[in-house]
Symmetry: C4
């Protein structure tokens, strides 16, 4: 029998009080991922769900201790406030359009199981320009939430589109009665943007009524950039090598 396309491993079933789900998967400027990863580091969340999927790249990453880790998405929780938090983190999003839907849908299944009523998705909005004080743009599933976010300084433009998990958790979430908003940090688009991630986090923490130290964020962005450059270089080399070593290519029938 074929393996399931998506495998959810629940490591623990914490009792959470109407937790708020925050998505910080990779996207434009890595803004969402940087913000999400930083939240985890500062708040010391606890991993309770792992999601594995054939829709993620077929690869393992080699860790510092030389053991491997299969690519996945992970959920963390944090209980130190009135409304608990859940963080959705990972190195990848689904690699095909339909898998984006299917992964978002599974995340929402989990969200419902833990009684999530509100979601914030974090991302970047690429402008091609570098700005000193990046704005945070928003969109939400209902007018009331739009108004609430406006009060916290979120900027609204009344047009555009949101791709991937940051969009689908809103679009599919609202069909389940979960209200959700996307916070998009203004960013150049072609740099890993800690400034933009910080702007997003400043507004998000204000909304959540929590406090997060931003000191290490820029540092982490730099580290991420270096590490990615290194890994990227190596992977690019390997990929090229890999491809050129396949003289027997698969024909593309009717293209």
């Amino acid at each position: 029998m074929e393996m399931d396309d998506i495998v959810v491993k629940i490591l623990e079933k914490p009792e959470l009080k109407e937790p708020i789900l925050i998505e910080g998967l990779p996207g434009i400027g890595l803004v969402g991922k940087l913000a999400g990863d930083h939240m985890l580091d500062e708040l010391k969340g606890k991993k309770f769900v792992e999601i594995y999927s054939v829709f993620l790249p077929p690869q393992v990453n080699i860790q510092y201790d030389n053991t491997v880790k299969l690519v996945n998405m992970e959920l963390y929780y944090w209980k130190n406030r009135k409304k608990d938090l859940i963080l959705l983190l990972g190195d990848f999003q689904g690699i095909t359009p339909d898998s984006q839907y299917k992964l978002a849908d599974v995340v929402l299944d989990i969200a419902e199981e833990f009684n999530v009523k509100r979601i914030f998705t974090l991302g970047g909005l690429g402008t091609g320009a570098i700005t000193k004080e990046p704005k945070v743009y928003g969109a939400a599933t209902n007018k009331k939430l739009v108004n609430e976010l406006m009060k916290h300084g979120v900027v609204f433009r009344g047009s555009g589109a949101i791709f991937g998990a940051s969009g689908l958790l809103l679009g599919l979430g609202m069909q389940r009665g979960i209200e959700a908003a996307c916070l998009m940090g203004e960013t150049h688009g072609q740099i890993i943007d800690a400034k933009s991630a910080e702007a997003v986090l400043r507004i998000l923490t204000k909304i959540l009524g929590i406090d997060i130290d931003m000191t290490k964020l820029a540092e982490k962005a730099k580290e991420t950039e270096e590490q990615m450059a290194r890994v990227s270089k190596m992977i690019e080399d390997q990929k090229k090598a890999f491809e050129r070593q396949f003289p027997i290519e698969q024909p593309t029938y009717i293209r």
Copy 2:
């Protein structure tokens, strides 16, 4: 459990008298979409079905009021005449070849449920040239319908192919005993062509025996063009940003 590939939401079950289904999804010159959207605006149809699918782009669009809308296809009905009308509209067609089949098949399920016996699909026929008085070309599922359309000025060429929903609703529809025709407005192909959409609508309304004011069509085309340019620019920027921010690419094994 994985979500369904296509989800049909029936909002209302109107009693329709052998309604005629008209498809106005995006395609060449946006002729079909412009014509379909304009019909809706002028005839004030009522939405009764929404189709969501993993085969549509994984994105939400931000609306003027800053709330989001998940990409979908929609069906509208209009009851003010002997034979009622159903309009099929949307911003996208299925994004893979097989999904084109599956989405058309679901539309035909709905069509049968509402007793549709005839379908008109609207599209453009790109010629690479700009013409002042665009012809309307046709093709149909049977000779009798071809002859009927000829009398209304539809031009037939006896060759060619029709792609996507405009073609499959004919090809799959005839297998269910639904007669159908495609009306293709002559168009350059690389401009959003209100003139061509108008030509298609003039013939369609004659066939249907209804009247539609064309005044706002050109205006709408212009608006659409501007809006699309704006959105397109933004999306293009974001997409570029998005892609460049993924240093860890997925290898393409054997290509």
Copy 3:
């Protein structure tokens, strides 16, 4: 419920005496298709099976009488000899690698149902050169058949690969105990090659012990070429137009 990926319509269930299945789908130099189509024209076979599939291009073709025909594969039979014949024809092969397997598998289901014990697949072997007297290369599922074909002048090279239906009907057929051979006409590869198709047919008819007039083959090749150039031009235009009219493109997440 979603439509089946492959739909087989059996129009008639003829009593066939261990028929030989001959595949003439499009491929290199259109050699196989030309040969197969010509056999049908000369032998006046009768259509008894239609195969429709989401794995074929989502399009209808407009016929000379202006009615449309949904893209498909078709099986014809011919009973005028000791061993009856079945022809497999069509305008396309499956458009994804896995669909090639699935379509070949369904064809073999049908073959078994009609008691087929032997298959010949027809194709071209592209050499990049133009030759006056094209050789016919072969490969088979067993040594005995190789030897039999050698006696009829088929040339063997002991290396290479056969893609698509012409290969899979052998590879999957032998797993069902159906012996099969592929006949590949030497061809330039970038022209529609009636000469090569004739060479293949000359050997095939010798093997089958039948006679086919070749007079109209060259003519048909020319016609095919003209028609394809015409259709191709039109389709190319439409496709370009189609693509450029989609300013809202789907992002490619992680490529």
Copy 4:
């Protein structure tokens, strides 16, 4: 009914004593494949499993005796030592990302059925440089195995990623409690590298406590290279021919 995506043919059910599974599928520098194929030749393993799949290229290869062989993966066993060996070999890996997962998962099903407790996957690590004494890099599913391999001279870098079967057999294997390591021979990446394969084999045989003559390895690499160049040239020609002969292309709807 549609054929299964993956078909496993068990030819024999040998009694194996906690066999070690060694994967030698094609990849960077063909290092893993060369090493695996050479082990088979020297150790004279016995084939006991064949894996066919719609996820492999839709092609048959023509063998020296002019019969065809459907593309597959194969498992061999060898019983002449304390711990028996299983070899996983083949000409291709799965051609889509998700199929990589599904094929690895099926291999692990088989591994479990034969009581495999340890896996070694063999591959290359492309550096873009040519080196006289290629190092062998490693990664493993647990620290204990890392330490064990270090003692045998395997080099560890604490970063990077492993793609395809060589990675997934580790990542998915550890979820089933099978410990596994990947041995990657340092290699340029764009040549078929017998030297690197030899380096990998030297360490692997030391770990396994067996002896393999390396004399014919370089020879085989050369042969492979020549044969691949030949086949590759022919296939490239055919592919070009194939593609150009399809004037009726499939449109790409929304890209």
